[in-house]
Each structure stands twice: as structure tokens, then as C-alpha cells.
Amino acid sequence: MLNTLTLKQALDLLQAKKISIKEIYGDIRQSLSQNERLNVYLTLNANMETDAESAVNKPLAGVPLAIKDNFCTQGLRTTASSTVLDNFIPQYESTVTKKVKEVGGVVVGKTNMDAWAHGSSTETSQYGRTLNPRNTDYLPGGSSGGSAAAVAADMCIAAIGSETAGSIRQPSAWCGAVGLKPTYGRVSRYGVVAMASSTDSPGPIGKTVEDTAILFNHIAGHDENDSTTSPQVAPDLTKALNQSIKGMKVGVIYLDHPGLKEVAPLVKKELEVLSTLGAEVEEAQAMDPEASIGVYTVVQRAEVSSNLARYDGIRYGNDRSFFGAEARRRIMLGTYTLSKGYADKYYLMAQKVRTLFLQDFERLFKKYDVLVSLSSPGFAKKVGASESSSMFGELEDMLLEASSITGLPGISVPCYRDEKTNLFLGLNIMAPMWQEEKMVKVADAFEKNTEWNTWRNPIGK
């Protein structure tokens, strides 16, 4: 089954002409129909095979990619999983999808997500939830839940997601995939349905660390259409693969949080492998992650209320009565925290605490090359779980929010699998701004020296 290939394997085989576009897309199509009930794709690209045939001599050789439905794709419906954009056909291409298409990546389809990327379950999608391919009684996480599920179910070779605070790493962790959240400003936001503009970061979700490094190389870099992208030249992350991590200093944070009692021992054991490989691993004290929930909640709602003000049903889309419950809550709370009399109390206060988080990470990175934590406080939650709490996403993303509001890059790699449920935990490895190569070095070494990556070590599913 060629759909189970990693990106690296697929590229090697396609470029050597050992497999054909017809064969790989035949298997992808079969996987699409077999897994229909997972509700992964909202819109399929009817021309995927012909697009791929014409791309076979380019660097990405026509490989099938899943794209989160908040990236504008010219001529292909883009909804951000909200019925407000039910019939929206973008008239231009996002920078990220433009870049991957130019080098021969092909869009299989647009993946389900939490509506407007508001959430960590995909249950707020107005087109129904996505199921976790590892165990369909459970959620895939979110907001890039469709992209992570597409990878885990081999309904694509690799995927593109976006993260504002956890939306790449948390669903990757829950689905047993690898998710790379670049430094804020490393990858262009142009043409991405805006959520929180000061933290939105597009990035790859793949089957291996190497796959995410390859995709990162193709999407990173300055974009004249997004003035928040950095003029710095992006690193070649494939150079960080197969490197020694001897002598690297690794700070372990958040594992002593009371909410992690059950899973912390499992992870501590896995971290020993880093010491065996010569890294200096020790527990480090970071600022209380619970405070980041408050900061993120205020900043994110405020930016949402501003970004979603454009949806008036006049130039495109349906009117504001089409917003789902979660989007309504976020728009209204954001409007409130920015309104006269409350902006100082909430918005300014949150931005000041954000500074404290920045200073805290600065302090930690003077001592450590990378910081590691869990990507989520536990395993995937059961279907329906998000409906009981209006703060579901914030609690699930608690361990990722501090790094998101401070713009840090991070990568989640599978670090444990529960045999009974077939559900995974993800290890979140964070690096200083603009230094993605450090976290990829550690993530790649961890992946290759543990048993948890199911593409490297098939579990006979």
C-alpha cells in the first residue's frame, strides 16, 4: 500500500521512477473511500491525479498532501469548517499552498478542523467531528485534527496544518503523528483564514521528523505579502537529521504539574533515552503554565473578535448568524475584553504577563538548548468530551500556550503508546526563536532511538 509511505520514501521511489503517480494515487483513493467515516476531508481535489502527473519532475514529485481547510486554495472551496464560508471559492492562493504547489506538492483535499481553528477537538467544526484513526471512539484533537488524522490514517503522504496555541502539536500527539510548529514569523500567514494574528503559525504534520523537516524547508521564509515574516534565511532542517545530541542541554518542564500525575512517569522513563545518547537532561522550573491559559484566552479572543469582524456576508460568505457557538463565544468575549473600561484590566494585563513568559523562556534558554514537555496533559479524549466545557481547548493546550504566545518553535513526536487503547502521547520539544534545527536534532534522535513511531516500527495495525 503506497499510501503508507513516508514522504522521504515516496519522494525517493517517485524520483527513481520505481513507482508511478497512478499507483500511489490509486492507493490514496482506496484509503479515502475506506476511511470515509473518519470525516477527514471536507473537499477533495477532483484533479489530483492530473495535477500530480504534471508535477512529477519537481522536487516534491507530485506527492499527495492534505491541506487544512483554513488555507485559501484558488478555485477549491475553503470553509475553515464554518458554514459562514460554506460556498467560498478563493480567488487567490495562500503563500504556503502556492509554495508547495510550485515545487510539485499536490492537494488531495482540504481537511476538517475546529471551525475557524477555535478548539482542540475538531468537534466545533460545523461539518461534524473527525474521528481519531488510532481509535475511533476518541477525538483526533485540534484544531488541525483533520490534517493529523489524514496522516495517521495514511489518507495522504504528509499534511499542512496551522497552530495558534497547540493546533499542530496537540492533534499530532493524539494521532501518533509528528507535528512541527515553526517560529512565529518563519512561515507566511498570507491567505490563511486569520485567527490570532500575533501567534498564527502554519507548519507541517508528517509521519516522521524527517518528513516535517522536508516540508518545512519548502514553506519557510520571508514573504512580501506578510510583513510579519522574518527576512532571515530559514535553516535547512534536513541538516539537523542524524546528528549527535551529545552534550546538548535539555530542560524538562511542567512534568510535576498535578494534572499530569498519571502520564508523567511514562514520559520520564522515555526521556532516559536522551541521556543515553549523551544529552544532559534535568528538570527545570518554568513559570506556571496555568497563567498562560489566562493570557492566551484574553489575547486570542481579542484578536479573534477583530479578525472575524470582516465576515459580513457582503463580499463573500454568509452573514454573521451562521457563526457556531464557539466562534460566537470567542468573538463576544474578545469584544468585551477590548471594550472601553476593560481593555486595561484584561487585554493590557494579559500582554504584560506575556512579557513575563518571554523573560522566563529567555532565562531558561540561557541554560538549556531545548526544553521538553508533554504536548498534551494526557491521551486523546473521548468523542463528545469538548462539549462539556467552554475552556476545553485551553486546558488541553495548557502545556503549549506559553511557548505559543512567545512565538517559540516546537515539535511533537510520539513518545508512548497505550497498548489497550492504541492511543499516543507526544513529546513536545521547544527551541529558542529562529533555532528550529536544535529541536529537530533532538526530535530526530528521539524518534530513531525509541519504538513509538509506527511508520518506522509498524505495529501490525
Binding site: Q91, Y346, L348, A350
Partner: protein, 110 residues
């Protein structure tokens, strides 16, 4: 009406939230029943946010962006490659009249 809403809001972190006022500011149509549910959700969320007030931020400046980039300029000139044709600009409009978007009336409504 605004005054009432704001005075109700003073106690928001413990009891209530000016849902209808904020709905109006946000241009989100809500029903009475929805307003009740939303109020519970907002009060819950603000309880979590209120924990921030225990943190000492004396002499701390706010952070609005993290890239460190400042004053990113471009030449103020028309780039025709980036422009939509009229057909493209109107392609997703629901109500179009002779090449224009039709907008709802917002003045003299009352």
C-alpha cells in the same frame, strides 16, 4: 442602555456579564435563551482569566508582537499582479447588482 450594561458588568467576575450589549457591539444576533447560556460560559471563562490579576506586573511593559520587526515598509505603488479583476472581486458576493455589491441598509434604520 450602554450605561446599564457597563454597571452590570462591574461585578462580572463573580456573577453576571453584559451579554446583550456585547452581542450588539459584536454584531452577533442572539436569542434570549442563548444569552443565558453565554453568560454562564463567560463568567466561567473570566474566572480563569481573573487569576492573572494575582501576578505582579509592576514596571512590566506589554508585549504585542514577538518578532522584533519594526516599521516594515513597501513602496506605495500599484501592483497590478496582485489585483483582482472585477469579476474575481465579485465572484463570492451573494447579492450583486450591475457590478456592485448590494449592502444592507445601516443608516436611518430606527
Amino acid at each position: 442602555m450602554v450605561n446599564t450594561a457597563v454597571s452590570t458588568a462591574t461585578n462580572q467576575s463573580t456573577k453576571s456579564f453584559p451579554v446583550e450589549h456585547v452581542a450588539k457591539l459584536s454584531n452577533i444576533p442572539i436569542t434570549k435563551e442563548e444569552a443565558k447560556k453565554l453568560e454562564v460560559a463567560f463568567v466561567d471563562t473570566l474566572k480563569v482569566v481573573a487569576k492573572l490579576q494575582q501576578i505582579d506586573v509592576t514596571n512590566v511593559s506589554p508585549t504585542f508582537q514577538v518578532t522584533g520587526l519594526e516599521n516594515v515598509w513597501r513602496e506605495d505603488e500599484v501592483n497590478e499582479k496582485k489585483m483582482f479583476t472585477q469579476k474575481q472581486a465579485l465572484a463570492n458576493g451573494k447579492k450583486i447588482y450591475e457590478g456592485f455589491f448590494v449592502v444592507p441598509q445601516v443608516i436611518n434604520q430606527d
